[in-house]
């Protein structure tokens, strides 16, 4: 658990897994002695929001709660988008490039190489499709819901749509992107012949592990923070539209 008064350098020093989180909030290093709150303010980041996300990342059991009402869904949507950007621009290309190099430098059979490279190409396609589905459909819906909730008279058409749709539907079909990566990791450590280039092999495995953990945490943010809040807002808007 981290708190606003703590020096930011200490937070990152003791929790290096927060490193990939920093660019998503546009937080630049060179913290000096500044506290979490001071660093956030300096970068125009909502401190409560940063703390909710960071704590959810650090602690499996942490249930974001008290700070939730303090920031808008728009803030969340922006954060989710910048996480997606991190996956697309940094995390995926990084591991892909290493996998390619590892395959080229290995004594694997053609079949084994094609198994891995075809897998990764397909995985990337599915990954992109998953993100597009969220960015094209779910996130705009969330923003629209927030916009309608702020209106004195919400659009009746939207209310009608709401009676037949809930964000919980999305929760049900929210695929876990880390599953296939786990299989790939297992394939490498269990079934492929050992790699000569251990350094590169370990880097690939480390990158895969970090990406898996990040994807789990990200899905948690969506499932435990975003969806409950959106569901609450749906209920609120519906009860306003049809008072009992």
């Amino acid at each position: 658990m981290i708190y606003r008064e703590w020096p930011m350098y200490r937070v990152v020093l003791e929790n290096h897994q927060l490193l990939p989180l920093l660019p998503r909030f546009n937080l630049k290093m060179g913290f000096g002695e500044l506290s979490v709150d001071e660093v956030c303010r300096e970068h125009s980041v909502n401190t409560d929001f940063f703390l909710e996300i960071a704590n959810a990342y650090l602690d499996e059991l942490y249930v974001p709660g008290e700070g939730l009402s303090l920031f808008s869904l728009g803030t969340m949507v922006n954060y989710i988008k910048s996480t997606h950007k991190y996956y697309i621009d940094i995390a995926l290309p990084m591991v892909e490039e290493k996998i390619k190099r590892l395959m080229n430098s290995s004594a694997l059979s053609k079949k084994e190489i094609s198994l891995v490279t075809t897998f990764f190409n397909d995985y990337k396609k599915d990954f992109m499709a998953h993100l597009s589905q969220e960015e094209d459909n779910i996130l705009p819906y969330v923003l629209e819901l927030e916009r309608q909730s702020a209106q004195d008279a919400p659009d009746p058409e939207f209310i009608q749509k709401l009676q037949n749709y809930s964000i919980r539907e999305f929760e049900k079909e929210h695929d876990r992107l880390e599953t296939s990566l786990k299989h790939l990791y297992e394939l490498i450590i269990k079934y492929l012949p050992p790699f000569e280039n251990l350094q590169l092999c370990h880097q690939v495995l480390n990158d895969l592990a970090a990406l898996m953990k990040d994807l789990v945490d990200h899905a948690d943010v969506e499932d435990k923070v975003l969806i409950p809040r959106v569901a609450d807002l749906e209920t609120l808007l519906l009860s306003r539209a049809s008072p009992v």
């Binding site: 059991l61 709660g65 397909d122 599915d126 929760e171 599953t179 296939s180 299989h183």
Partner: protein, 204 residues
């Protein structure tokens, strides 16, 4: 994870609200409705199957007759107890209540208690409906990994192409895997097929 539905029957508005908001933050939980001292949840239950009922001692004592007439509901019941008060309920076997929460519980305890329930329920659910593949589905995964097309699989297993498609859809949704290449790696790491047996053709 599937959604578990809850209703709350708690006299204190503040406790009810606090518990509902705590529960709703837990993944897989949905509080369907909350009932206070003057509400009756019995009619609601007739039309709405729920997974769990959280009820306080006062409410439980008032509803003893109802629970005696429907003892199966006790298996869904979580009692919210005030540790400073004695049990009042006469004659009803409290031990049949599924779980107990205490008014003095901290957030972590409440969440852990509920998670344990859901976890257990999820396990039972998995065993019954199974994320594991059926033998037929396993065979199909094997043939897909060997590079066979739907039509070839249909011919080999004496099935219609339509049936093979249905199996594939079920496999995809059970495993959350869409591509043939990911399915192949799944098959290898789960010992359904060996690397040697896998099709050497690049798979579409």
């Amino acid at each position: 994870m599937r959604i578990s539905t809850f209703i709350l029957h708690i006299d204190s508005y503040l406790v009810r609200l606090g518990l509902a908001s705590t529960l709703n933050r837990i993944q897989g939980v949905r509080v369907l409705k909350e009932f206070g001292a003057n509400d009756s949840f019995t009619t609601f239950l007739e039309n709405h199957p729920v997974d769990y009922i959280i009820i306080d001692q006062a409410g439980f004592d008032r509803s003893v007759d109802f629970f005696i007439s429907k003892p199966e509901l006790l298996e869904l019941t979580i009692l919210l107890k005030d540790p400073s008060k004695e049990d009042l309920n006469m004659g009803l076997p409290l031990r049949d209540v599924h779980a107990t929460l205490y008014l003095t519980d901290e957030k972590e305890t409440i969440i852990q208690t509920i998670r344990n329930l859901l976890h257990h329920r999820d396990d039972t659910y998995k065993k019954n409906s199974s994320e594991n593949l059926s033998p037929r589905e396993t065979t199909i995964v094997r043939l897909i990994s060997m590079g066979l097309t739907n039509r070839q699989i249909a011919e080999k297993l004496f099935l219609s192409a339509h049936t093979v498609m249905t199996h594939r859809k079920n496999i995809n949704s059970k495993l959350g895997i869409k591509s043939v290449s990911a399915l192949t790696i799944y098959a290898i790491v789960n010992n359904i097929i060996t690397i040697e047996e896998v099709s050497s053709l690049p798979q579409a």
